[in-house]
């Protein structure tokens, strides 16, 4: 059986702990609310703390939840982390550079990180998708896209 210490590095255990911490933090904010606006969040977060604590306790001491998931999730590939990091950079860059310029860099970079090496595909998909989005959202529908400030 897995030791208690070993369980701290287990994501099955970390997720309910995350929820528990969120609920505890949020309930600590409720006393500042208007009395009428406080009742529901307090009750809800109380319930959340109870449920998350039970799940943590089950993971910690019994090593399983009420209904055990069928199987452990598969591992995380290196490509996943690359997509997350590139996606985060893309998100931040849209705040400063608007939508189109970061997209021209993000699309080929993301495809490259996932294993696409053909230059024609990289350039073709990038140009086609950015042009389509510009035509549909920017030109045709005149809908807002993140702008360069």
């Amino acid at each position: 059986m897995k030791s208690v210490r070993g369980r701290f590095g287990d994501s099955e255990f970390l997720l309910p702990v995350f929820f528990l911490l969120v609920f505890l933090f949020m309930i600590s904010r409720t006393p500042a609310f208007h009395p009428r606006a406080r009742l529901f969040p307090t009750l809800l977060l109380g319930l959340g703390i109870l449920l998350a604590t039970t799940e943590v306790a089950l993971q910690l001491f019994r090593g399983r939840a009420l209904v055990q998931p069928d199987r452990k999730p598969k591992g995380i590939r290196r490509e996943f982390w690359l997509v997350v990091v590139i996606g985060a950079c893309y998100m931040l860059s849209t705040f400063f550079l608007g939508f189109y310029i970061p997209s021209l860099v993000y699309i080929p970079l993301c495809m490259w990180s996932l294993g696409v090496r053909r230059l024609k595909t990289l350039v073709g998909v990038t140009m086609f998708s950015v042009m389509t989005i510009y035509l549909v959202f920017g030109y045709w529908l005149s809908l807002p896209t993140p702008r360069f400030y």
Partner: protein, 499 residues
């Protein structure tokens, strides 16, 4: 009535209508553009048409746009409209099994039948349904929403405890922003961006689309695990007729939820989905590509069209957000709801009903020809789809409210939903609580204030509220019984197999 039908069937009008249907389906496919925005965007182009045709066209746009939203839900797990988010769970699972064509067929047929059912209700039962919708006060809204929340257990396919934690988290997200009763801010941490709360579309897109991007990046390959499409559109078209009970139940839910003001399409589709799970003989198959999991929300979300128009046309109270914009169009054309439409301009009313039915027929024709082509997206390599879906969901999240915070919300929700999905925390339960949460709280407080603190006076003073309270109680007992039975089965399973 015949006069109105003849006017719509003129070749020129039919061609205009066909173009409008294609336009509406495209707008529905694009995330961030719901039926409300679609109607608003189309309205200026209708001013050259006669009033009856123009308003009929807008009703058709409303209906077809909702159907369009389900296409991306099924193919790439990106809900085009919040109302089609409930379709993601089983629709996308069918695509992963190579049955995208069949799933699109079910959604097409279900959407058309939902729209048609709502048109029939609009035509024959409008005064009756309007009366029921008006009987809804805070207590009734509260019980209705609470009833909806009791189905969290039904939609939780893994651990019940984890489903409940996900639901509490979803409820918590809905509490962020200004409290509608007291006007005080909650969980905003001094940020002006959070005063309006989390944008529903940003949360929906993040939960389903952004998390799916991460799943694809982690797994690679194609959406269709087999790398090919086996199910055909025509296979799916007849599915609704094999599940008549689900079809009728979902249509009734859609019409009623559409007619009751401020409940909306998202709640209707989630509620119909949850009821389909609850009544199913094999609820454990939901979430892994169950036909009824596509059928129920798709019938319900299109059935809200006619439902939403009932109080709008009879009383001037829009049942849904999109019906409110349509009501604006009715006023813009110089008409007034009630007697003005039903007596003085009855041709306009018939034109709207007929166009709703006609839009269902056009949807079927366009869908049958288009779906097999759209289904091919499920065999496009994920290396190409990942960046394309990312930029689409960024645009969709931003377009809903034009706020940068929406992109951050979608991205963060994607990361969290990815982890939750891996550990079997129900995303549907989270979204159900997020959608119904504000309705529960607001109406609980309102009913308490009206009843002066007495529980019976506040919540059980009318026959309708007593009826809804009883339904909630029955639903709760049913959910608990199901959980106990499942726990017993889980305990008995290993020992019986060992024996």
């Amino acid at each position: 009535m015949l006069e109105a039908i003849r006017a719509i069937l003129e070749p020129q009008t039919m061609l205009t209508f066909l173009g409008a249907m294609v336009w509406a389906i495209i707008l529905g496919i694009l995330p961030g553009i719901g039926p409300t925005l679609a109607i608003a965007l189309t309205m200026p182009f209708t001013f050259y048409l006669p009033t009856a045709k123009a308003l009929g066209l807008l009703v058709g746009i409303y209906n077809a746009c909702i159907y369009g939203g389900s296409i991306t839900s099924i193919l790439i797990n990106v809900p085009g409209t919040p109302g089609s988010a409930a379709t993601c769970a089983d629709g996308f699972a069918m695509s992963q099994k190579g049955e995208a064509g069949k799933a699109l067929g079910i959604s097409l047929s279900a959407s058309a039948l939902g729209g048609f059912a709502s048109a029939v209700c609009l035509l024959f039962f409008a005064p009756l349904i309007a009366k029921v919708a008006l009987a809804f006060g805070p207590a009734e809204y509260f019980w209705l929403a609470l009833w909806g929340l009791t189905v969290v257990a039904a939609v939780t396919t893994g651990s019940f405890l984890r489903g409940m934690i996900a639901a509490v988290f979803g409820f918590l997200l809905s509490l962020v922003g200004i409290d509608s009763i007291t006007g005080s801010s909650r969980f905003t941490f001094g940020s002006p961006y959070l005063l309006e709360g989390f944008d529903m579309l940003a949360v929906v897109i993040g939960t389903f689309a952004a998390s799916q991007v991460l799943v694809m990046a982690n797994e690679g390959g194609t959406i269709s695990k087999a790398g090919k499409i086996t199910g055909r559109v025509l296979d799916g078209l007849l599915v609704p007729f094999r599940h008549l009970a689900t079809l009728i139940r979902s249509a009734v839910i859609g019409v009623l939820f559409g007619a009751v003001p401020a409940v909306g399409m998202s709640a209707a589709s989630y509620f119909a989905y949850a009821e389909a799970v609850r009544f199913s003989k094999h609820p454990e198959t939901f979430g892994s590509g169950e036909e009824e999991g596509v059928l129920a929300p798709e019938v319900a979300n299109n059935a809200t069209v006619g439902g939403g128009l009932i109080p709008a046309l009879t009383l001037g109270i829009p049942g849904t957000e999109s019906a409110a914009v349509l009501l604006g169009a009715i006023f813009a054309y110089g008409l007034r709801p009630g007697q003005n439409i039903f007596v003085e301009h009855v041709d306009v009313f018939f034109s709207m009903v007929f166009c709703l039915i006609l839009s269902c027929l056009w949807m079927l024709i366009l869908g049958i020809f288009g779906a097999n082509v759209w289904a091919k997206i499920t065999i496009v390599p994920t290396e190409i789809l990942v960046p394309l879906i990312t930029i689409t969901y960024f645009i969709g999240a931003y377009a809903s409210g034009a706020k940068i915070i929406n992109i951050i919300v979608a991205f963060s929700m994607g990361l969290l939903a990815f982890v939750m999905k891996r550990h079997k925390y129900s995303l549907v339960a989270m979204m159900l609580a997020f959608v119904l949460g504000p309705m529960v709280e607001d109406n609980f407080v309102r009913a308490s204030l009206i009843g002066g603190g007495s529980f019976v006076e506040s919540f059980l003073s009318k026959p309708l509220s007593i009826f809804l309270a009883m339904l909630t109680l029955v639903s709760l007992v049913w959910a608990l019984r199901r959980e106990i039975m499942m726990a017993r089965k889980a305990v008995a399973g290993p020992s019986s197999s060992a024996a």
